[in-house]
């Protein structure tokens, strides 16, 4: 580990975070603007006894990650929109088989090839709903190179703790930003290790069952078919389907309070609250500070966890604030979740499409209009 203070690109910080979290397997496929993560892992993993594989496509990349995770190694991949789309079937498989793994999606502008070199936040809904069926994932949204490091570790920890595919939803701004990154000594980094089973399979019905990896004394049966607590297919049983899908979702929903993280700024007496995540949360902070200087009662709720959606924060605020302003680098995705939780409180979307980031002045203008 490279303990110390560095000047790093967000993508490089992500790779270092993965290594610090104990990731020793990376399978990927080049795609702008995430490629530097693969490039760094190609150089760094052999140095720490890990394996880097460049796969034939993104379907192969996520499938290899699932294989490596079941072999008992912390594993990740990194991609962007088109590759993330190709991964969706296997992300569903990872959710169904409760495979801990980390997928970094450095969002660029779409649909389709879109604007490969331009940042966006256009995969927010795809991260949650991209694969078919009912399942839950965890997604975090970094807003600095330091957070690319910190949240990658957090993604691994959450993936291991809840046995769930965890997504680092970065955007092209943050991934390509060069900033100061502090890498603490290993003993100061919290790393969650995988829990192995201590009892025969099916004996316990925890929301998050322990994981029996290959070659650890259990006969392991991993399947995307509906399966019972022992892992055996029960493709015809209504009861098993109901039990499994409920548990796959409830293990995240019931633990949402423990998973969800937000950052508050000047919320105590705020009348208008800006809700932002990722890169736009930086101009948002500046705008709210400027608004306060102008005597406006503005506040900022920065979402760190996007999935599960931090609805309790929004519900709590909606009881007394006048309005929400939601910043997104898309045409309105997470704003729907805010509207759902805001229950009638006015919600305004400040949308950016393409390479532009919101300026503090634009946000301030919107705040003035609403206040």
């Amino acid at each position: 580990m490279l303990t110390g203070t560095h000047f790093l690109q967000g993508n490089a910080a992500c790779a270092e975070g993965a290594i610090a979290a104990g990731c020793r397997f990376f399978a990927g496929y080049p795609i702008t603007p995430s490629t530097e993560i693969a490039e760094r892992m190609a150089r760094r993993l052999p140095e720490v006894g890990g394996v880097f594989i460049q796969m034939e496509d993104e379907i192969g990349a996520i499938a290899a990650v699932i294989g490596a995770s079941w072999a008992g190694v912390k594993a990740m991949t990194a991609t962007s929109g088109p590759g993330f789309s190709l991964m969706q079937e296997n992300i569903g498989l990872a959710a169904m088989t409760e495979t801990p793994c980390v997928i970094v999606d450095v969002m660029r502008a779409g649909p389709s090839t879109g604007q490969p070199t331009k940042p966006s936040q256009q995969d927010v809904m795809q991260a949650k709903w991209g694969s078919h069926g009912d399942y839950e994932v965890i997604a975090l949204s970094p807003a600095s190179a330091q957070e690319m490091f910190d949240f990658t570790i957090e993604c691994f920890n959450l993936a291991e703790e809840y046995r769930v595919p965890t997504i680092l939803l970065a955007d092209g701004f943050i991934a390509h930003a060069w900033e100061r990154v502090v890498i603490p000594p290993p003993e100061e980094i919290k790393v969650v290790e995988r829990k192995g089973p201590e009892a025969p399979p099916g004996d316990r019905l925890d929301l998050v069952p322990p994981m029996a990896c290959f070659g650890r004394g259990y006969r392991v049966h991993v399947t995307g078919l509906t399966h019972d607590e022992r892992g055996y297919p029960q493709a015809d049983s209504v009861e098993v389907q109901r039990r499994l899908v409920k548990r796959l979702c409830d293990k995240i929903r019931a633990n949402a309070d423990r998973i969800v993280k937000t950052k508050a700024f000047a919320l105590d007496d705020a009348e208008v609250v800006v809700i932002a995540y990722g890169a736009p949360s930086r101009p948002a902070l500046k705008a709210v500070k400027m608004a306060r200087e102008n005597g406006l009662k503005a506040g900022l709720l920065r979402l760190i966890t996007l999935w599960p959606f931090p609805e309790k924060d929004v519900i709590r605020l909606s009881s007394h604030v006048k309005a929400f302003i939601v910043l997104e680098m898309n045409y309105g995705q997470l704003v729907r979740e805010v509207e759902r939780a805001a229950k009638g409180t006015a919600v305004t979307l400040l949308s950016k499409l393409g390479e532009e980031l919101h300026t503090p002045y634009e946000i301030l203008r919107a705040l003035k209009e609403v206040c």
Binding site: T35, A38, P46, Q54, E56
Partner: protein, 319 residues
């Protein structure tokens, strides 16, 4: 397949440029030359499909296009599948008497990433179904568009950003996938390799591929000054050296019968002409780490792989 068509150099020069100048490919780009030459071989109405890659990006920058034929930018993995849809739809139109042309040629151009790796499923499917189209692989031997990552077409020992030469690996540890043999194994009517250094051979092969009844595959070496690390004026020189060292021999396979093309046939008949691979390797920065005591053995290994494949090719061509 009977074949009587011929072009003179003058006729090639006088044919319209279907790839308009002003595109943003790098100076010395092999792929640019390949595209320009292949498009000289069209016989009439032609539609081109292109997956993501250097050429797609650089020939279609808003508000411009370099394409003087109808052109589709398809997803990275689907060049052949997209071509299959176009070709099959025209077939249906013809069957119903609604096509005003005798023939509409469908061409897919794809790089090595879009062919060896992510696109091989679509390619294999289209070859097996027997769609009448020409697939041109412009092979610059790595993902150059995203900044020089290894592909299934990257040769043994080459440095790329995902096969960095260091203490653990001497560049890419594996030889490249024999994509042209994989295509031949599908039993398609026409497969050929070509090099921009032998431009007449390249144009003739492209035309043969278009005229073949069924799928045709043209594998063209396309040196990349950025990714291969050489002076951009040396593209044709390297395209020629690849042939002279038998790193990239020229041949065609018509209905399953292999035949050496003239430049490689000359070497087969006069083995003294065959140059050692070291001449090809030392001209490129991507192999520079091999010229150290640590990795010298890899040069021998590359020579061995090239010799072995050349030997097998000679057998296939009954030389």
């Amino acid at each position: 397949m009977s074949f009587t068509w011929k072009f003179t150099a003058r006729e090639i020069a006088e044919k319209p440029e279907l790839l308009a100048p002003g595109h943003r490919m790098c100076s010395g780009c092999g792929a640019a030359i390949v595209h320009r030459l292949v498009l000289k071989a069209v016989r009439g109405p032609t539609i081109v499909t292109h997956p993501t890659g250097c050429v797609e990006v650089t020939t279609a920058i808003y508000p411009y296009t370099s394409w003087r034929v109808p052109w589709v930018h398809t997803a990275f993995e689907t060049a052949a599948a997209n071509a299959a849809g176009i070709e099959a739809a025209f077939k249906a139109l013809r069957r119903r008497g609604r096509l005003k042309y005798d023939h509409v040629d469908v061409m897919a151009f794809a790089g090595d990433g879009g062919t060896y790796d992510i696109g091989i499923q679509a390619l294999s499917g289209a070859l097996e179904r027997g769609h009448d189209f020409l697939y041109v692989l412009y092979d610059n031997e790595a993902y150059m568009n995203t900044g020089i990552q290894r592909s299934g077409g990257t040769p043994l020992g080459a440095w790329t950003t995902t096969t960095p030469a260091g203490t653990k690996i001497p560049g890419k540890p594996e030889p490249r996938k024999p994509i042209e043999d994989i295509v031949v194994a599908h039993g398609v009517p026409y497969v050929a390799t070509a090099s921009p250094a032998h431009w007449m051979d390249l144009v003739v092969k492209a035309r043969k591929g278009l005229e073949a009844k069924g799928p045709a595959f043209l594998h063209v070496i396309a040196p990349c000054p950025r990714g291969w690390r050489y002076e951009s004026s040396k593209t044709i020189e390297l395209s020629r050296l690849a042939v002279e060292t038998c790193v990239f021999p020229l041949w065609e396979c018509v209905d399953g019968e292999h035949k050496l093309s003239a430049p490689s046939k000359a070497i087969a008949l006069k083995p003294d002409l065959k140059k050692p691979v070291v001449e090809y390797l030392k001209a490129q920065g991507r192999f520079s780490h091999l010229f150290t005591p640590e990795f010298e053995r890899v040069i021998d290994e590359i020579q061995r792989v090239v010799d072995k494949r050349w030997y097998l090719l000679l057998k296939k061509c009954s030389v």
